[in-house]
């Protein structure tokens, strides 16, 4: 593998490959160290971190769906202080950028959380304004352009790190949201988070998930994610991180052609824990075979 051919800079962060582990599906990276060399991947995007510890939702939290899955974890996490104290030091041995995914209840709290993460070992922030599985905040920030812009501004003001804002696909027009957070100063956009879905147990007549609804992800949603990345990439100037249903290097190439500057793999990590590394290797091979000098040369090159 000619690493330099697929090394990229995304939102100012240098990465060895354009393939990252998506938030909530990649732990803090170290969990995968038996399956791949985490020093050779693009970046680790952490599970969503909140100002205070959260226990998450009760009841069943994951369910399989055709070519995908639903989850309603509800942002279980130890809170930012425990994260900095217990987890961050473990990661400092690694030479791979850590992007911390953050969520909070108000724009002010987002800002305070961001300022607590102005520390070594944090390469960037991914601002989750789109978690469908928590009651407070999530929906409003993720679906109202003014609220999204407000959160973005608070984080930008508080943070010394590049700020990636993660958008929800559960909106009528993704470009409205994208332009709002761009105008508010976001350094990059990532999308998509999960589509809100549901499942019913026909034996018990109860919702299958403890939280009734959950977030749909996996290959099932790829066509929707790809369309939104394509729409967004042509609507904004800042780079786009493509997420949603990626399960092969071919999928990753589709996202980059559609306009993504880098990609992240989510639910498919559960199926193939080596996916993040194997997809990068496949992209490198694709460059080789197609005579592409650098993977960045294909970004947005869809001939539409």
């Amino acid at each position: 593998m000619k690493q330099e051919r697929i090394a990229v800079e995304f939102a100012g962060i240098s990465m060895k490959t354009p393939v990252m582990g998506a938030s909530g599906t990649f732990g803090f990276g170290i969990e995968y160290s038996d399956f791949l060399d985490i020093d050779t991947i693009g970046a680790i995007i952490s599970k969503g971190i909140t100002p205070l510890p959260r226990a998450g939702n009760d009841g069943v939290r994951v369910a399989e769906t055709p070519s995908g899955m639903l989850n309603c974890i509800g942002l279980e996490n130890p809170g930012v202080d425990a994260f900095k104290r217990d987890i961050l030091p473990q990661l400092s041995r690694h030479d791979t950028p850590l992007i911390v995914n953050i969520s909070a209840g108000t724009a002010e709290e987002y800002g305070e959380l961001a300022s607590k993460l102005n520390v070594d070992g944090v390469a960037a922030l991914e601002v989750n304004i789109s978690c469908p599985n928590v009651k407070e905040g999530g929906i409003v920030f993720g679906t109202r352009p003014e609220a999204a812009a407000d959160v973005t501004r608070h984080v930008k003001d508080a943070s010394h790190k590049p700020v990636i804002v993660k958008l929800s696909p559960n909106v009528t027009d993704i470009t409205v949201m994208a332009k709002a957070v761009e105008a508010a100063g976001a350094d990059a956009i990532s999308l998509i988070n999960t589509l809100t879905g549901m499942a019913v147990d026909i034996h018990t007549w109860k919702p299958l998930l403890g939280n009734i609804t959950g977030g749909l992800s996996g290959p099932a949603v790829k066509p929707v994610a790809l369309r939104m990345v394509w729409q967004t990439a042509r609507a904004v100037q800042i780079p786009v991180l493509g997420v949603g249903g990626i399960a092969s290097w071919q999928d990753a190439v589709e996202f980059m052609l559609a306009g993504a500057s880098a990609v992240a793999v989510g639910a498919y990590n559960f199926v193939n824990p080596k996916a993040v590394a194997e997809i990068a290797a496949g992209m490198d091979q694709y460059c080789e075979e197609k005579g592409i000098g650098h993977i960045s040369d294909i970004i947005g090159k869809i001939n539409d």
Binding site: G27, A55, V62, G68, I73, E76, P219
Partner: protein, 253 residues
């Protein structure tokens, strides 16, 4: 505790009863590392499932490089597995779980119901003369005894309908077992109600008890947080897949 991903060739695949199958596959790395209580996460590639499916390790033969699981056909994934042939390749991730059964010396009671008995077979093999309690709904669901015969000091059987062994639930056999044997420790795997009642009884007798938990899982390796719970005593958040699946009963019930 290293984990591996192996494309494993199926070497034995047989129905024990029409709905319960035994599968042995060649996965030498997993076989070499497996410990009682751990599980594997398997998938028939190119099939209809998206997520892997977790199954307790029933045996790991380091010399032969094989791992055994016993599974009940309940839904799309296990139905698909039951259609696989010897020689077919199954993708196996494992051994998973850092919370394993205690294998320290002592007189141990292994109590299980249904497919919960599967991981106890591996444990029985590594203990000296364990006492085993096999609980089932009815006699045809107690075929498990054959798997324990060569390891068990004494085998007790209960069935809900009394068609074999003592009539009633597993917990009802405990007073007799505890009277007849000097039990130091109990390891349980089975339906929640069985685990809870046995754990309660063990507590009342002051006997240490550990239980193997089951929760819906997406990743099996501690990253998705689909399988967490709050420890009853410690208040600590645990992941069933990576902190367990075996826990001290007092943290669970």
């Amino acid at each position: 505790m290293k984990q591996f991903l192996e494309d494993a060739k199926i070497v034995i695949h047989e129905a024990i009863i029409p709905t319960v199958w035994r599968m042995v596959f060649y996965a030498p790395q997993i076989a070499g590392a497996a410990r009682p209580g751990q599980f594997v996460n398997v998938q028939k590639t190119g099939g209809q499932t998206f997520l892997r499916r977790p199954f307790g390790i029933v045996d790991a033969d380091t010399a032969a490089g094989t791992v055994t699981i016993i599974y009940r056909v309940v839904g799309v994934g296990t139905r698909e597995m039951a259609g696989m042939q010897c020689g077919d390749i199954i993708s196996v991730e494992g051994p998973l779980g850092k919370g394993t059964f205690t294998t320290a010396p002592g007189r141990v009671l292994l109590a299980g119901g249904g497919v919960g008995l599967a991981p106890l077979i591996f444990l029985a093999k590594q203990l000296k003369d364990p006492i085993v309690l096999v609980a089932g709904k009815t006699a045809s669901e107690t075929f498990w005894t054959t798997f324990f015969e060569s390891y068990a000091h004494t085998l007790y059987v209960t069935t809900d309908d009394g068609s074999r062994g003592q009539k009633g639930f597993a917990v009802q056999a405990l007073p007799v077992i505890l009277r007849e044997n000097q039990i130091d420790r109990i390891s349980v795997c089975g339906p929640t109600v069985m685990m809870r009642t046995i754990a309660d009884t063990a507590a009342s007798y002051g006997i240490a008890c550990e239980v193997s938990m089951e929760k819906r899982m997406a990743c099996g390796i501690g990253v998705c947080l689909g399988c967490t719970f709050e420890g009853k005593r410690s208040g600590k958040r645990y992941k069933v897949c990576s902190d367990g699946p075996v826990f001290p009963a007092r943290e669970v019930f």
